[in-house]
Amino acid sequence: MSSTGAPPKPPSADDDGFKKELVTLIPHLRAFARTLTGDPTAADDLAQEAMMKAWDARASYQMGTNMKAWTFMILRNQFYSEKRRSWRQTQLDQEAAERTLVAVDDPEAPVALDELRQALKTLPEEQREALILVGAGGFAYEEAAEICQCAVGTVKSRVSRARKALAATLERGGYGRDGKAAGDAMRSILADADRLSGARQS
């Protein structure tokens, strides 16, 4: 690296390390944002804003602590503060967002994934995020509690309620998809999970 005569910057080795770690977290931030917003474009905007916030706040981050949980918390706070500001607009955009979600779906993606996305949408927000963090993001209950700024017991009960509600919804296919027999969604999820775990083992 060539120095161009700028005054010596304070701990830039720390900045480099921080940035490297932040870059590895981008895919995870995108995935979490996608589950919160349900819309790929809005999700990337949110993930970018969260990434910038994390970068600007890097002085307050202690290297060696859980950066993934820290950035997820930033992203989540960003999501809810924006949402509060523009909840009216969000409602107006809801229909458009749902159309987008369907439109960008990979036509070859197994039906089960779409069923799951639809069913997830029927969960209360706080249950959905708890389930995603623990069930998909690989966070411990304690970490999820930190991210959601609530008690560990609260996260546990939210995850448990989310799991039950999700199974029940998939079981009866009760989220208003036409022409589907009850239990179809669950059947395709079961079949697809078998396929996936089979592929993983072989």
Binding site: L116, G137, R163
Partner: protein, 68 residues
């Protein structure tokens, strides 16, 4: 339904209830697999260039700020 033709080896834990619990467990497991799959699909997408561009610009921005 009670099946009278077979004797239940464990009367305190009827086979039908065991099956029910096993069913619930399997379903939760399947949902878990799909949840991770859904999340990982996005994680495995290539990161749009915008993200790295933004970080690069942020870097320049903060170094010009400090240069003033």
């Amino acid at each position: 339904m009670i099946n009278t033709k077979e004797t239940n080896p464990r009367p305190d834990a009827p086979a039908s209830r065991d099956q029910g619990l096993e069913e619930v467990r399997l379903r939760q497991q399947a949902i878990g697999v799909k949840l991770r799959h859904m999340f990982d699909q996005v994680v495995n997408e290539p990161v749009p260039d915008e993200f790295l561009d933004i970080l690069r610009r942020a870097d320049e921005r903060s170094s010009t700020k400090e240069g003033q």
